[in-house]
């Protein structure tokens, strides 16, 4: 965040970037904790470490714009305005969750927020995002779609088909790659012969840029350019954010794993996007440590409330809920 650029960004936006990151972080830490206590069933893929990507990306969007997501979708939903109570309830499989407990962490969504769903199938969100972008162009409503996806997902067919189709049809879409260097437990360099996912953009005829995914302002700036391009009818672009997940692929273990070294993890943790940004904000006298702490505390209180809400919420009732929502009934 060089000062020249910083001056271009309003204080409001800086606070917004910060708040969204912290909201993600604290929710994820809480979710991880609950999962390790077996209060959240199933698989849970935490976004901790990658907050700058979802936040930088979503702050560049309007509320009415859409995003698509992945198996690691909590961060995207929070960044797009997701509320803690129905999220936490959904994680726990409660009837008050965003998906009435039917989807869980891996399918969390809120279409009203333009969040087209977390997705259990790697790459599958991309063509769906392309469809939303098509609709925006069709309706000429000036909206933009942002597809979030991981480095590993760029090796699967759905990603490729979606990216090419978006470019062929010149759609208002931004491809936002979270390159965290791993797909589950396999390092990127063992499953692709290129280093930068952004190099794939040229194969579709769109610009591709690389940004420091731990620098929320860098992400935001790149996203703003790409979103504007899309909104102006100039077509798709791709942004590759170099980032890292602090926890394991699923669950909360982070250190002591065989597929990546503790040194590597610790190095990346040094570049914690929230700490980095808070230091920058303090240095720029936009937000001091005190203020930051207050924001954390306020958000934490909201999360605590959400946990209580979720814990006190009922489970769905099989006799009532099993067979609803399979089809939309004729009205």
């Amino acid at each position: 965040m060089p000062p020249t650029e910083q001056t271009k960004i309003s204080k409001e936006v800086l606070f917004d970037l910060h708040r969204r990151m912290v909201r993600i972080r604290l929710l994820e830490e809480a979710a991880g904790q609950l999962a390790s206590e077996a209060k959240i069933p199933g698989f849970i893929h935490l976004y901790v470490g990658e907050e700058a990507v979802a936040s930088g990306g979503c702050v560049a969007l309007k509320d009415e714009d859409q995003i698509s997501s992945t198996h690691r979708g909590h961060g995207h939903l929070v960044a797009k305005g997701g509320q803690f109570k129905p999220m936490m309830a959904e994680f726990m499989g409660k009837a008050t969750g965003y998906c009435k407990g039917k989807g869980g962490s891996m399918h969390i969504s809120d279409l009203d927020l333009g969040m087209l769903g977390a997705n259990g199938i790697v790459g599958a969100g991309v063509p769906i995002a392309v469809g939303a972008a098509f609709a925006n162009k069709y309706k000429n409503n000036g909206l933009v779609t942002m597809a979030f996806f991981g480095d590993g997902s760029t090796n699967i067919g759905a990603f490729h088909e979606g990216a090419n189709m978006a470019c062929a049809l010149h759609l208002p879409i931004v491809f936002m790659c979270e390159n965290n260097e791993y797909a589950e437990y396999t390092a990127r360099d063992r499953v692709m012969a290129i280093t930068d996912v952004a190099d794939r953009a040229a194969a579709y005829g769109m610009p591709g840029v690389i940004v420091d995914g731990m620098d929320v302002v860098a992400v935001y700036e790149a996203a703003r350019v790409a979103v504007e391009r899309a909104r102006n009818g100039e077509g798709p672009s791709m942004i590759e954010c170099k980032t890292y997940r602090f926890y394991d692929h699923a669950g909360v273990s982070g250190l002591g794993r065989t597929y990546r070294s503790d040194e590597e993890v610790k190095e990346w943790m040094e570049r914690d996007p929230i700490k980095l940004f808070e230091a920058q904000l303090a240095k720029a006298k936009v937000m001091n440590e005190e203020q930051a702490k207050e924001i954390h505390a306020e958000i934490q209180a909201e999360i605590d409330e959400a946990i209580e809400f979720a814990e006190n919420s009922p489970m769905p009732d099989p006799a009532v809920d099993m067979l609803t929502d399979v089809y939309t009934e004729a009205s």
């Binding site: 989807g103 997705n119 199938i121 063509p127 769906i128 939303a132 759905a158 929502d325 089809y327």
Partner: protein
């Protein structure tokens, strides 16, 4: 339907006309698929639509079936009413995830919030020498997927009414044309009308046995019925028209009347939709059955190319007649 004048048109033209009328009727409807735009589709089923409605509403896509279905899902999720085309039903395989993991499940996974008025059109069936990867009938897979509706019209009139219902339905529907029926003809009124999804049609009444026939097999069953009638055997023919939801009531009613059932479809018998129909009939009408429920369908092999093999592979009037006689010659 109280039409006075018969307006006879081709099955393929009924499809095209219905699409044109739907596009005129609702600005949220658009069509996308390979070659469906400027060229009018490989079977010319979309001919003229792009000229009338433009590149924006009748959209040529890359060869990318996953993205084609995804295009439909995403557009439907945010309020449009897409019709997306898979040139051949065999290509559901390259798009199966988008169809069965995404489109079908989105509403349920999202706790009901998603509404997906998405219609997938395709062409199924054998008979054109198109071999193993361009001739399949894969409806059995699709009806095993909660969240989808599956439609297979057997004549131009039903085609129109069912297609209108699919496009107006708020769920993902898969609408299969039979590629060997494209030139067949029938009465089709002008203008939009709906045939409810999930209502079977009793094609012919009869008392000796019931034949449940799917898609192109309906016309083969009619041929069989005519031949059997000459021998004094009167079969009842039921065309389910919609395979999901399936109108089991109409079938059960008939089963209770005739007591002998033969199901005929083009797909491979093993694991075909006939198995599900048979299983349900014996559940619901166990005491009424005088013979095992027969299934006339393709043998357990891929669709062969050679005309000599393909002819023998696909069920026809002769195999239906045989199936009915087997059911009749069995003591109850």
């Amino acid at each position: 339907m109280a039409e006075t004048e018969e307006r006879i048109i081709r099955y393929n033209d009924a499809f095209k006309e219905t699409l044109a009328e739907l596009l005129r009727d609702d600005p949220d409807v658009f069509i996308a698929g390979e070659d469906v735009g400027r060229y009018g589709g490989v079977f010319q089923s979309f001919a003229g639509l792009n000229a009338e409605f433009g590149d924006e509403r009748v959209v040529d896509t890359p060869i990318a079936e996953q993205a084609i279905i995804g295009l439909g899902i995403g557009a439907a999720a945010v309020g449009l009413r897409p019709i997306v085309d898979l040139m051949f039903m065999d290509f559901v395989m390259v798009a199966m995830d988008q169809i069965a993991n995404q489109a079908a499940k989105m509403k349920y996974m999202f706790g009901g919030k998603a509404t997906l008025p998405l219609t997938i059109t395709t062409t199924g069936g054998a008979g054109l020498g198109a071999a193993a990867q361009h001739s399949q009938s894969l409806e059995a897979w699709l009806v095993h997927v909660p969240g989808l509706k599956v439609v297979f019209p057997s004549n131009p009139y039903d085609l129109k009414g069912l297609l209108v219902s699919c496009v107006r339905d708020d769920n993902p529907t898969i609408f299969t044309l039979h590629k060997a029926m494209l030139g067949s003809q029938g009465h089709v009124p002008e203008g939009l009308y709906e045939i409810p999804l999930g209502e079977a049609r009793v094609v012919r009444e009869g008392s000796d046995a019931t034949v449940v026939a799917i898609g192109r097999m309906v016309s083969e069953a009619e041929k069989a019925a005519a031949a059997l009638a000459e021998e004094g055997i009167e079969i009842e023919i039921i065309d389910p028209r919609t395979l999901m939801p399936f109108d089991i009531e109409t079938v059960i009613k008939s089963a209770k009347k005739t007591n002998r059932i033969v199901i005929v479809h083009e797909a491979v018998r093993h694991g075909g939709i006939g198995a599900e129909i048979a299983a349900q009939i014996q559940e619901e009408a166990f005491d009424y059955l005088d013979a095992p429920i027969g299934r006339i369908a393709a043998p357990f092999a891929p669709v062969p190319f050679s005309p000599s093999l393909e002819r023998a592979y696909v069920p026809d009037a002769a195999s239906i007649i045989q199936g009915v006689k087997d059911a009749l010659h069995r003591n109850g």
